[in-house]
């Protein structure tokens, strides 16, 4: 059992990294991550706190926003937030909270989210991975896979679109004129629907779709088996062992112990 804070062996430097290291360090005083034997550290306290703040504000903004988006939902959703007028007043603030927290997360994850050749390879194999035909992810899959990176960059783009169009909608036609408002409204909505579709997949993958993932964001640690199955290159990087061999070894142990 050990408590540790280094992650993903990031090597980039500069202002972002320094800011981020400081934030991570100060959050280690607020909580800790226990990594048991047979496990690996996945996400430190800071990353987890920011992730759940992002998720919280996302859903607050989603529900206040969707009640205004679809007439069919208006009467269902607005009462949760104290009625239509209050939903309207709160939505931009929830949205701003989401953008600010995701901004922190974006700085936090900029380095591991950079697209590499391994990701293009992952995309070519996506069909097999999604259908479950490929039991393990491609051997060169690192800390994040291409699907996760796509989702990350989609949200980065979405946040920028939200922020610009949201401010235009917030201040309204009196400040920006009729046409910018009418256009912003469409972009804002498209951005929301794309993000919603992505979030369904995201929540599914990190809970039911790939069991063992959820604990990465709550306890911060994952099993070694999870790591060599879904992120083999990362497994190799942090343990120095070969993921394929480690898996075979575990399989041998499992079959011998299951025979009487």
């Amino acid at each position: 059992m050990s408590t540790s804070r280094s992650i993903s062996g990031s090597t980039s430097s500069g202002a972002i990294e320094r800011f981020d290291d400081k934030a991570r360090e100060s959050f280690e005083h607020l909580g800790q991550t226990t990594v048991y034997r047979g496990e690996l550290l996945r996400h430190p306290v800071y990353t987890r706190v920011v992730h759940w703040m992002v998720a919280l504000f996302f859903f607050l903004a989603l529900f206040t926003g969707f009640s205004i988006y679809l007439p069919w939902l208006f009467r269902w959703f607005t009462p949760f937030f104290g009625g239509g007028p209050l939903s309207r007043v709160m939505h931009p603030w929830f949205g701003l909270g989401f953008v600010v927290f995701f901004g922190l997360q974006a700085l936090n994850w900029l380095q591991p989210m950079i697209w590499t050749a391994a990701d293009s390879n992952w995309m070519r194999n996506m069909g097999k991975i999604v259908s479950g035909e490929a039991k393990m992810d491609p051997p060169d899959t690192g800390f994040f896979n291409a699907g996760q990176k796509l989702q990350f960059w989609e949200i980065v783009g979405g946040c920028i679109a939200y922020l610009i169009t949201g401010i235009i909608l917030w201040a309204g036609a009196r400040t920006f004129g009729r046409i910018p408002v009418a256009i912003s409204y469409v972009i804002h909505d498209i951005s929301a629907v794309i993000m919603l579709g992505g979030i369904f997949i995201h929540i599914y993958q990190s809970t039911f779709g790939e069991p063992g993932t959820f604990q990465a964001m709550v306890r911060g640690a994952v099993s070694e088996a999870w790591a060599w199955t879904f992120h083999p290159a990362w497994y190799k990087q942090v343990t120095g062992r070969d993921p394929q061999q480690a898996c075979e070894e575990a399989r041998r142990q499992m079959t011998t112990s299951s025979k009487p």
Binding site: I68, I129, A173, Y185, V193, Y204, P211, W226, E248
Partner: protein
């Protein structure tokens, strides 16, 4: 005209499904006729409007013209716009136009509004804001081609001319009509008002030399329930920015009634998609998995 069925709802903003009860009875469309050629700019209608609707006084700014204030306000729905126009022959015209909600047949404000029941269009043509349902988003401001809805920051609601729906519902004419001393304002059915307006423009063309006199009833918003007689219908802009071709942004029509439901459904299918994935191909487990039961076919 008019009895209580004059206030039968025809369209309701942000409402799923058609307006309840619409189409049960046939209603006459009402209309206000404003003859700009006989308006003397006395402001009686402004006062009558503020009086009847109990609108609180607010200080105005004097800009050296015969106009009460630069624009309508949340508490001032009826403004006589004053414009000095120079004709090509050097003569000067004082143009007075009563500015207020046009009660469009195709109301951009209503199309833009997301709140169920905040804007209602009655079968008689009146477009009314119900402040108790308004959420203060001001989308109606961007939907309206006539720059009419006004936001009150204190109540966070928008306000505008109601065409005195409360009076019309009881069989009375709007307050401004009652106050007008010259007969420049008239109220009745849309057909009657169109007829009078056409007669008047004929008179202006034939007897007074206003070659371009015409009726303003813009078809780009399906016609309006406030129509103008203009000396020169080819250039409505000179009457204080009356748009010659008022438009509702496409985003509020196509987007709202077509793409929103479609995209909303896609989002739902996203959810169904992941559920289906789970029950068909199932989760991807960490490897190694426990060996399959002897003889069992894992692909069943």
């Amino acid at each position: 005209m008019a009895d209580r069925k004059a206030l039968q709802a025809e369209m309701i903003s942000g409402h799923s499904g058609p307006a309840p009860g619409h189409g049960m009875q046939r209603d006459l469309e009402v209309c206000k006729l404003v003859d700009t050629t006989t308006c003397i700019g006395c402001k009686a209608c402004e006062v009558a409007c503020a009086e009847w609707n109990d609108l609180p006084f607010s200080p105005t700014t004097f800009d050296n013209t015969y106009q009460t204030m630069p624009e309508t306000r949340w508490n001032f729905w009826n403004l006589i716009k004053f414009n000095e126009h120079q004709n090509p022959d050097g003569t000067i015209q004082w143009l007075m136009r009563k500015d207020q909600c046009m009660h469009c047949a195709d109301p951009g404000c209503l199309a833009a509004c997301p709140a169920d029941g905040a804007i209602v269009k009655y079968a008689n043509g009146i477009v009314d804001f119900n402040q108790e349902n308004c959420i203060g988003c001001e989308f109606c401001v961007s939907g309206c081609p006539f720059n009419i809805p006004r936001f009150n920051p204190a109540t966070k609601r928008v306000y505008k001319c109601t065409l005195c729906s409360d009076r019309v519902g009881e069989g009375l004419e709007p307050a401004c009509i009652k106050a007008c001393p010259t007969g420049c304002l008239k109220f009745g059915t849309k057909d009657d008002m169109k007829f009078i307006a056409e007669e008047r423009t004929k008179q202006l063309r034939d007897n007074f030399g206003w070659k371009n006199a015409g009726v303003y009833d813009p078809q780009s918003v399906g016609g309006t329930h406030v129509i103008y007689v203009l000396h020169d219908a080819t250039d409505p802009e000179r009457y204080g920015n009356l748009p010659s071709n008022p438009q509702i942004p496409w985003s509020y029509t196509v987007w709202k009634w077509l793409f929103k439901p479609v995209l909303g459904t896609f989002a739902l299918f996203g959810f169904l998609g992941v559920v289906l994935h789970y029950v068909t191909s199932g989760p991807r487990r960490t490897q190694p998995e426990p060996p399959a039961k002897d003889g069992a076919n894992v692909n069943v």
